[in-house]
Amino acid sequence: MSMNRETILNIVLAALLIAVPVIAQIMGEPFIITLATKVAILGMAGVGLNIALGYGGLVSFGHAAFFGIGGYAAGILASHALNYEPIMEAPFEINGTTQMIVIWIVALIASALVALLIGAITLRTSGVYFIMITLAFAQMIYYFAISWPAYGGEDGLSIYVRNGFPGLNTLDPISFFGLCAAMLGVAIAFSAVLIRSRFGLALHGARQNSQRMMAIGIAPFRVRLVAFVISAMITAWAGALYADLNRFVSPSMLSWHMSGEIMVFVILGGVGRLFGPVAGAALYIILEHLLGGMFEYWQLPLGILLLVVVLFARGGLIGLLAGERKHA
């Protein structure tokens, strides 16, 4: 089997994402490592959204809800552990933790449950209604976080020491980058397998033609709901990492700006392309860094770029460099 252009481009992108922080490490530029870590984490959030948006055609404008749930899972569990306050005492004691693996599991379960609930309601609608109702649910959770004083309310919650991972000094920037990049790799590998599976074929089908799906005896709703839940879980996992990167979680992770940003990563990089969200997140963060240093209104050129992509380069960055999407 010969490699197509997209595969080669993906390998180049992955190599760049790893090479840049390694070189930065050698040159003693920890800030660049942090930027690369941010790209890996936000790219991973986009990889999650891409399953719903790219493969399923479900334009969720509420994925910040899941990103934030992951973030708060990290923040809440860590704060209880660091303050030696059990989360629950009766009927049995549950303590906080500073172990990332436990935090991730909690983030995955919590986001799956919330996504199941939100999806079961929102997926009965489509088009603009779906966009608006996912937004509404995310805003509900956002305001809930603001008005809940136990975990910092509007001020957010600090994680004084970055949570731990067995055998790794997570406070070392390059080590933490390596961990995030590996998790991004897991998320990408999982979605690559998923879209080629039976479920992936059904999801591609549900995006294209509901009427045909029903005529062959597959309920598109169930397929979309499962995809929505999987999509939310990956985004929440990234959220947990993001809280650890910043050692801070606040309602801004749940806000509609965040939902919009994750969507921008997917669209800039290429909707429904395996590495699209990573390319999009990288471009976004590079622009933010370069233009943001030059003048205050850096989001204006970003907005224009987004407009150009939507109007003239529907396949985003990946589409521009690797040509039109090919299926399975």
């Binding site: 397998v193 998923l194 080629r196 599976s197 039976r198 479920f199 992936g200 074929l201 059904a202 591609h204 089908g205 294209q208 033609n209 009427q211 045909r212 029903m214 005529a215 062959i216 005896g217 597959i218 309920a219 397929v223 499962v226 299926h327 399975a328």
Partner: protein
């Protein structure tokens, strides 16, 4: 007398002032092709949609395979073995021809929620899907995108997808539409053999095909069945001539 696989009794559907189905009763016997003919706007496609479960009749009963299916939706009816084709081809345009059939094959296998094994190297799906494409003469188009094949080929693909469902009855909504004389002839021969596999409720405008294939014909005019009978009965029926055939045949 064997029991009908599909039977409609007094099915009525009204859209505003328009009576699309007016007390329609008809049945489909094992092994038969029952053709449903009538002028444009007679309510043929509306009737197919009610049988397939896409729209609900206002009143009346639909029985399939020995049970009342009135409360089942389109997905459940399809899973019971009711396969329909669409008057305007309704396929997965971005999928290859083969993928369109594989998806149907996957539905029949009952295993949709499998997340890891690659579907397009699964011989248990590919082989039967290819076999259906060969039956309808599309095997050489297997790798083309459904959006890129010709209109007639899309009609053939609709058939292949329906065949893959291994149904207990076919609902074919104008399968010959836009096929051309050569294609129609081939499809007529194909459907002739297909009735042994599962009975066919055939909506069709091509009268040569209808007269060549039908065991029985029902004539629908303004939502009402004005006659049901054999080809000869219908050809000789004065009402039918006046309402419909008079102008065309």
């Amino acid at each position: 007398m064997p029991e009908a696989i599909l039977s409609l009794s007094n099915v009525t559907k009204q859209f505003g002032a328009l009576l699309a189905s007016d007390n329609v009763s008809l049945d489909l016997m094992p092994g038969e092709i029952h053709a449903l003919i009538g002028p444009n706007g007679a309510g043929k496609s509306t009737l197919i949609k009610q049988i397939a479960g896409e729209i609900k009749p206002d009143s009346g009963d639909i029985r399939f395979a020995g049970r009342d299916i009135g409360d089942l939706d389109a997905v459940e009816r399809s899973r019971m073995g009711l396969a329909r084709t669409f008057q305007v081809s309704s396929l997965m345009p971005e999928f290859s021809v083969l993928q369109n059939v594989v998806l149907a094959q996957q539905s029949v296998s009952g295993k949709i929620f499998r997340f890891f094994k690659p579907v397009l190297s699964d011989a248990s799906l590919l082989e039967p899907a290819m076999a259906q494409l060969e039956r309808v003469g599309l095997a050489d188009r297997a790798e083309m995108r459904a959006a890129d094949i010709s209109h007639g080929e899309r009609r053939q693909l609709e058939m292949a997808v329906a065949l893959a469902l291994k149904p207990r009855a076919f609902l074919l909504d104008e399968p010959m539409a836009g096929m051309g004389p050569e294609g129609s002839k081939r499809l007529t021969g194909f459907l002739d053999g297909l009735r042994a596999e599962a009975p066919i409720l055939l909506v069709e405008h091509d009268m040569d095909a209808v007269f060549a294939l039908a065991d029985r014909i029902s004539v629908l005019v303004y939502g009402r069945v004005i006659a049901t009978g054999t080809v000869d009965d219908i050809r000789g029926n004065e009402d039918v001539k006046r309402a419909y055939l008079g102008e065309e045949a």
